[in-house]
Amino acid sequence: QRGAAPEERWPVERVEEALYAADVAPSLVMEAIERLGARREGGVVPQRLAEHLAGLLVEPPAPGSVRRPRVVVLVGTNGSGKTTTCAKLAWRSRQTGRRPLLCAADTFRAAGSDQLRLWADRIGCDVVTGATGADAAAVAFDAVTAAVRRNADELYVDTAGRMHTREPLLQELQKLIRSVRKAREGAPDDCWLVLDAALGRNALSQASAFAGAVPLNGAIITKLDGSAKAGFVFSLGRELRIPVLYAGLGESPEDLVEFDRRRFVRSLLG
């Protein structure tokens, strides 16, 4: 329905360029062009493109009653930003007067738990750690027990980075999840995948592999303050029904925002 003035339309080439450059899956780019009748109508109205894209994203479920302590396990590939994001989540919790607990279940990487320990000091919350080489599942178990005993509001469990293609490492993660469940029935309440915004098509492979191994119910996109646009999120929504919950926008504790579908799409389209 055109109004008094014809709406500005983006030609197909411009749509392609904008979406491909943003790492949107080629199949979704072609589908968008097709569904919006771009070739037939000589282009796409940007507003309608934005609505189409936003519609591909899954909204997080309504909060509902959350158990206490809310147990959240963060997973993801090496260097994605898990440890820093755990700190940010704890900081956020502290800002609203809640009492979070952290768990450094990365017992593998050099200085993995020291990194989280330093964050815990800066933020002013406790952290449960284990010795290097200790069983990550055992550390997580202890942390859940401690969170229950201390009446913490949340427990954020940081895990070691791992390649989603290494089956033994996914099994190790499953063991950690089972261990958390043993410590408190129904735990973890959440298992979130941390994804680097600069990822290309591999983001979907990562998400699919982790979702197949653990009860993933959300994703956090880190480093969105960079030049990458994280167009893979549309595939997360469309193919895997995974909602994006937060976006990391920097290296400081306050650099985490709730993910806003519309704002994200507007910024992607520029």
């Binding site: 450059a21 260097g79 050099a110 990194q115 989603h164 591999n202 480093k223 990458a228």
Partner: protein, 291 residues
């Protein structure tokens, strides 16, 4: 995968004697999609397809293969050729030979610094690791532990140090104590952070490294070109190390970075252990990208 889906497209080209603009157009569009699926930069893919088109059109189809198979072969050959020209070794000059590792947050710089140190120390070279990331919590600790694990010397900050003052001290130490190699690990930084890029340039001017190596995650997508260009403008890249190739990322970033900046490709990271560093194989990378 390119080879599978393309075989299907190209099968339709059977029975034609010459490759023409028309009969390879649909096929080339499929190739472009396959390259995009492999994270090759959009513009780099366009240019690459154009080169393939120019090379193929007018070619006689060789006996015993279909036109489609011929195009695929040309694509593979061209990719191997391009990546082959990109392959280079670290520049061994000066004493100490100095390496500055740079890149985005979490790409694998600190781990790669230790991998390089281990490799070169095993070659009987005297290696010094310099922990110039004073920003990330426990970064110095991380490098120190890795250095201890492999028995290599490391220098970290003293109270009040900035990355520059530490680097200056390291330069003097490396010369005075006759190290063969000095490897500088730096803090991760974004290509859009002008302040941190300026700090990097200042560090480079101070250290005067023989090798400035971009450490890049193999799973990076379309932003690889822009990232590489910014780091190249800032610090003058002499090489690329692609990390986390033990995953299933196709690694199109390798092609993108080299095509866009001319940056040579030195090595690849294939795991978290300190031995997990391998030479870069152009033919393996070409097969991986083409799927």
């Amino acid at each position: 995968a390119l080879t599978n889906s393309l075989q299907a497209v190209f099968r339709r080209l059977r029975g034609q004697g010459t490759l023409t603009e028309a009969n390879i157009e649909a096929a080339l569009r499929e190739v472009r999609t396959a390259l995009l699926e492999a994270d090759v930069n959009f513009q780099v893919a366009q240019d690459f397809i154009e080169q393939v088109r120019r090379r193929c059109v007018g070619e006689e189809v060789l006996r015993g293969i279909t036109p489609g198979q011929q195009v695929i072969r040309r694509i593979y050959e061209q990719l191997v050729e391009l990546l082959g020209r990109a392959r280079r070794d670290v520049k061994w000059a000066g004493r100490p030979m100095t390496v500055l590792l740079v890149g985005l947050n979490g790409s694998g710089k600190t781990t790669t610094a230790a991998k390089l140190a281990k490799r070169w120390s095993a070659e009987r070279r005297k290696v010094l690791l310099v922990a110039c990331d004073l920003k990330r919590p426990a970064a110095v600790d991380q490098l120190r532990r890795l250095a201890e694990r492999i028995g290599v010397d490391m220098i970290g900050p003293e109270p009040g140090d900035t990355p520059a003052t530490l680097a200056a001290r390291a330069v003097r130490k490396a010369q005075r104590e006759l190290y063969d190699v000095a490897i500088y690990d730096t803090a991760g930084r974004l290509d859009v952070d002008d302040e941190l890029l300026a700090e990097l340039r200042e560090l480079r001017d101070l250290i005067r490294p023989h090798n400035v190596i971009l450490v890049l995650d193999a799973a990076v997508g379309q932003s690889a070109v822009r990232v590489a260009q910014r780091f190249h403008e800032t610090a003058g890249l002499t090489g690329l190390i692609l990390t986390k190739l033990d995953g299933d990322a196709r690694g199109g970033a390798a092609l993108s970075v080299h095509a866009a900046t001319g940056c040579p490709i030195l090595m690849v990271g294939v795991g978290e252990k300190l031995d997990d560093l391998e030479p870069f194989h152009p033919d393996r990378m070409a097969s991986r990208i083409l799927g």
